[in-house]
């Protein structure tokens, strides 16, 4: 199994305040890492750096054997291998179909409408295909954001508390889809969550953040693997 990410001495500051400090972190290809910690611990910042949409101020971040140095240009081809689902999804104005198919259109792919429709069906929101994104509830928007990210079939899927706005039935549905992406398609997944039980249900590796620093990284949840529902 190859290495997907390797971070060494990575830090990020905003307006002079350090919000993320990762002395060392390795994420293997095909692994499912859960990042936990209290609010403001720097989890989302770490995720945005893993998504390659923000660059570290210091340190070294390697992604799929490509070393990215602070301030360096990140090739688009590399960025397109990672997709992130944000905690608070924001869409471009238009219908759900426009928003969810956005990533495919960027890539100039074909059959966008049919593929979008299939993904919306998988997430149980096919009936919203013509709805305007501005009319979606928080839960529907969260599922649309998941559909938008999964549709581009990235190598790595980063999820920032993707089930916070969902009811229990939809949490089960989304977790089932995520597990399928990980186990069946071998995608590398990184999940930020406040729920230890969710981390145990899904992840194979866990990291903990506190006050902006990665304080602990465990390879697996041995106990949870036995109880992991299939």
């Amino acid at each position: 199994m190859g290495q997907c990410y390797r971070l060494a001495g990575v830090t990020k500051s905003y307006k002079g305040r350090q919000v993320c400090d990762v002395p060392s972190l390795e994420i293997d290809e095909g692994s499912f890492l859960a990042i936990m910690g209290p609010n403001g611990a720097g989890k989302s910042t770490l995720l945005r750096m893993l998504a390659l949409v923000e660059q570290p101020d210091t340190g070294k971040l390697s992604f799929q054997a490509n070393t990215l140095l602070p301030g360096g240009k990140i090739p688009l081809e590399l960025r397109r291998r990672v997709t992130m689902v944000f905690q608070r999804p924001v869409f471009t104005t238009g219908t759900v179909e426009d928003a969810v198919g956005y990533g495919l259109r960027l890539r100039g792919e074909k059959h966008v409408v049919a593929r979008t429709q299939d993904m919306l069906e998988a997430l149980g929101i096919a009936h919203l295909v013509r709805a305007k994104v501005s009319t979606l509830s928080a839960g529907e928007a969260q599922r649309a954001a998941l559909a938008r990210a999964m549709l581009v079939e990235p190598d790595v899927l980063l999820l920032d508390e993707p089930t916070t706005s969902l009811d229990p039935d939809n949490v089960v549905l989304v977790e089932h889809l995520l597990r399928g992406l990980h186990t069946d398609k071998g995608k590398t997944m990184v999940l930020v969550t406040q729920s230890e039980s969710q981390a145990k249900r899904l992840a194979t590796q866990a990291a903990f953040m506190l006050d902006g620093s990665l304080v602990e990284s465990e390879p697996v949840f041995d106990e949870s693997k036995e109880h992991k529902p299939r």
Binding site: V53, T83, T92, Y102, G103, L106
Partner: protein
């Protein structure tokens, strides 16, 4: 001549298709239209860039930009005049008292207006949108266009304000264009001249045209930017 007589005479001039009035109107539209197109080609990307970037001297650039918004057109005219005069650094272009000089002056006037309003419009868009479209695989240009699309009402307002400022300014075009009949006379400079000559019906006719153009441009932009305002 009473105001009423001047008004009725001006309407007669407009409806009769007076060649002189038509020529002045067309030149005004050509000069201000060209200035708007060239200015926005630089000002919109600059406003976008300024909205996205964080750097320590951004505040200084913004202060210069806002100063530019309130820049007196006569001062712009004076600087452009000096630049284009025979001994100036751009004197070799031979643009003084030509429509090109007027376009240049109007670009300088409209640039800070369009750039600053575009920046404000882009900054009003949810800052997370850019990160989210980048994470979906957008290039920097595609992400910029996605944000611009969300800010389009503000960008339309920037363009209308930019056009309004140049089509209606008189100081700069008078100085660098010279108000030469048949070559550099535009609506505003012609209004000044006709008023001085006591030809109020001509001045009023051109004033009405100026007002109509500004109104129609605003209406056209608002129609072009689509249903966003109704949402």
């Amino acid at each position: 001549m009473s105001l009423w007589t001047a008004l009725t005479e001006s309407l007669r001039l407009l409806t009769s298709g007076d060649a002189e009035v038509l020529r002045i109107v067309l030149l005004s539209l050509a000069v201000s239209g060209a200035a708007l197109v060239i200015s926005s080609a630089f000002a919109i990307p600059f406003g976008l860039w300024l909205a996205f970037r964080r750097f320590w001297w951004k505040r200084t650039i913004m202060a210069f930009l806002y100063t530019g918004v309130g820049l007196p057109p006569v001062l712009v005219g004076l600087v452009v005049y000096l630049m284009l005069s025979r001994s100036g650094p751009l004197g070799w272009l031979g643009w003084l008292y030509t429509p090109e000089a007027m376009v240049l002056a109007q670009i300088v006037i409209s640039f800070p207006i369009i750039a600053s309003l575009t920046m404000a419009a882009v900054m009003s868009v949810d800052s997370s949108l850019r990160s989210q479209v980048l994470s979906l695989g957008a290039s920097d240009v595609q992400a910029g266009l996605a944000v611009l699309k969300e800010a389009k009402v503000g960008v339309v307002i920037a363009l209308v304000a930019g056009f309004g400022s140049v089509i209606s300014e008189v100081g700069a075009v008078m100085m660098v264009g010279g108000n030469l009949k048949g070559s550099t006379q535009v609506l505003t400079t012609a209004i000044v001249q006709f008023t001085r000559m006591g030809q109020f019906e001509h001045a009023l006719a051109l004033g009405l045209v100026l007002l109509s153009i500004t109104f129609m441009v605003a209406l056209m932009w608002l129609t072009l930017q689509g249903r966003r305002l109704e949402d």
